[in-house]
Symmetry: C2
DNA sequence: CTTAAAAAATCATTTCTAGTGATACCAGTG
DNA sequence: CACTGGTATCACTAGAAATGATTTTTTAAG
């Protein structure tokens, strides 16, 4: 069994396809097939279901567990011998689209310059999906909105955010219950931390049957809100970014309602890879003072 | 970096020589040299000092840490896919010579039949040496006489023993202080659990300047005691084994003096290899009732 | 049911490289 | 000094990883 085979195996499972894995590892698809096949005959078990996407069999999941740990140890070992002990390998991050658009770019730019030997993979998804991917080891860390996620995960605050009500038309005062019942909300699919906030908010205001449209992308939401389709609840910083492209109007939520904290979810520390270790060192602590909000009309 | 290279590297460090490692791994010395050389150029650091015995450089020790873990994970992964989930790889045990001669043979015979895919390495040494080798990961487990060994190690009782005074001539009653001061004791080098017992015993009896001869092997000790060179303090079960070959006379120690408990020292459980896991399952609990002693004259 | 597109398997070929055995080299030791 | 017990070097071979072209299979759409 070669480390290389395990690396390829992991890439196939993570990317869901033989050819995608081949691209990521800068080799050819037939080579990926050969490695997987060799593993399968060596272990005497089918490891992958050739579907679309490719999925690990029960036996495959068992191997995956070892593959991840071995490949990670291998990367860490190599890291130790790089000039300056530079970490090496890949860092697999997850993030909600909102964080991805606003907070992550500076962080990741800085990070990838500081550690040129690390390749960063960023995957977006909802809080629920990401947490699960961290738990299974598919991701090293994920930026999510959550307050607790079980004992096996560690959550570290990174950004304090303020959610604001976003509309395509000027907002004079906070809409009443009746108006909220009429106006649709545009949000991500269930499992997104922000969406949860919307639902809680509407429930608290006793809005009977709120209409919530589900969109798969942040751009779509912002575009449609700008076009007057409805309201959205988004981080102030995100909205600010879109101001140049769309005519957006925001209104702070009453009281502390809008306060959310983005955290980094990881497995408990002892199992961190060198890559994750240095990443976490480089992540700044959240400013106590919140980002000031201009309630532009 | 190949798992195979790490396996070879580990074997060289553990065996202290390129050629010995080659033998153990059923390959040739030039191949060992090639693998080590490749690792060294790949990592850009000298890993081994070519002395006699070969010893790891600081860089080598760093790699060793990873090598051990990766090879162990590899073996465990393969184990999962063996028919019946049989563990596979090697189990590295340490033991004092006395245990090795008496208690281990049945245990190991049984074990090696039960798990035909595991190769057992048994290395003898003193309690102190063995404990240290378990701590550094050179051994998976060691049979020693100790009561505590630090938080990082786990100790599990396996045999209750009784040390007896052994002589080449009939012993009527327990020798007095004066006689003990005249008669030399034959013992292992410092660090052996039994030797410690002798020293404590003599100190308690206020024997002024006891003469203790150091011998490197159990056979030598027993042989010389049989020839009347002096006294020894050995487990009753060990002496029993030698009765056929030598004319030995034993006497129990007064009170509870002679009671010793052999324990298995391992690292704390979470880091056990599959091989160690099944070994520990198969080790019987110590009989509460002690092995009966015939005080043959 | 048919078809087109995407993905995985197969295959012939090339390029490396792990493993081998013979030999050269380099201590220490009597 | 030669001898012993080790490591390095070398030429060679068998086997395997990687490649690119091609065929087969799967999936989704018409």
């Amino acid at each position: 069994m070669l480390i290389r085979s395990l690396e390829i195996f992991r890439a196939v499972v993570d990317s869901g396809s033989f050819s995608a894995a081949a691209d990521r590892l800068h080799t050819v698809q037939s080579n990926v097939t050969a490695h997987i096949k060799k593993l399968e005959t060596e272990l005497g078990a089918r490891l992958l279901e050739r579907r679309n996407p490719v999925v690990a069999t029960p036996a495959g999941r068992q191997l995956l567990h070892y593959a991840r740990r071995i490949v990670e140890l291998h990367d860490d070992a190599l890291s130790r011998f790089q000039p300056g002990g530079e970490p090496l390998g890949e860092l697999r991050l997850g993030s909600m689209e909102t964080s991805a658009a606003v907070h992550l770019p500076p962080l990741l730019t800085d990070f990838s310059q500081r550690w040129p030997q690390l390749s960063v993979h960023l995957h977006t998804g909802t809080t629920g999906e990401l947490i699960e991917e961290v738990r299974t080891g598919q991701l090293d860390a994920a930026f999510v909105v959550a307050e607790n996620a079980g004992d096996d995960l560690a959550l570290r605050p990174v950004f304090h955010e303020r959610l604001v009500l976003v509309s395509g038309r000027p907002l004079k005062s906070f809409p009443g219950r009746a108006e909220l019942a009429r106006t649709p909300f545009l949000a991500f699919r269930p499992g997104c931390g922000y969406r949860t906030t919307i639902e809680v908010l509407l429930a608290d205001m006793k809005v009977a049957a709120p209409r919530i449209h589900e969109f798969g992308s942040l751009d779509a939401i912002v575009g449609c809100v700008g076009a007057g389709m409805g309201l959205a609840l988004l981080p102030a910083s995100t909205v600010r970014q879109y101001r140049r492209r769309f005519d957006l109007h925001t209104l702070a939520l009453p009281g502390d309602r809008g306060k959310v904290t983005t955290v980094i979810a990881t497995l408990q520390r002892p199992s961190w890879s060198r890559a994750l270790e240095v990443f976490m060192e480089g992540v700044p602590s959240p400013d106590r003072a919140e980002t000031p909000i201009r309630d532009a009309g």
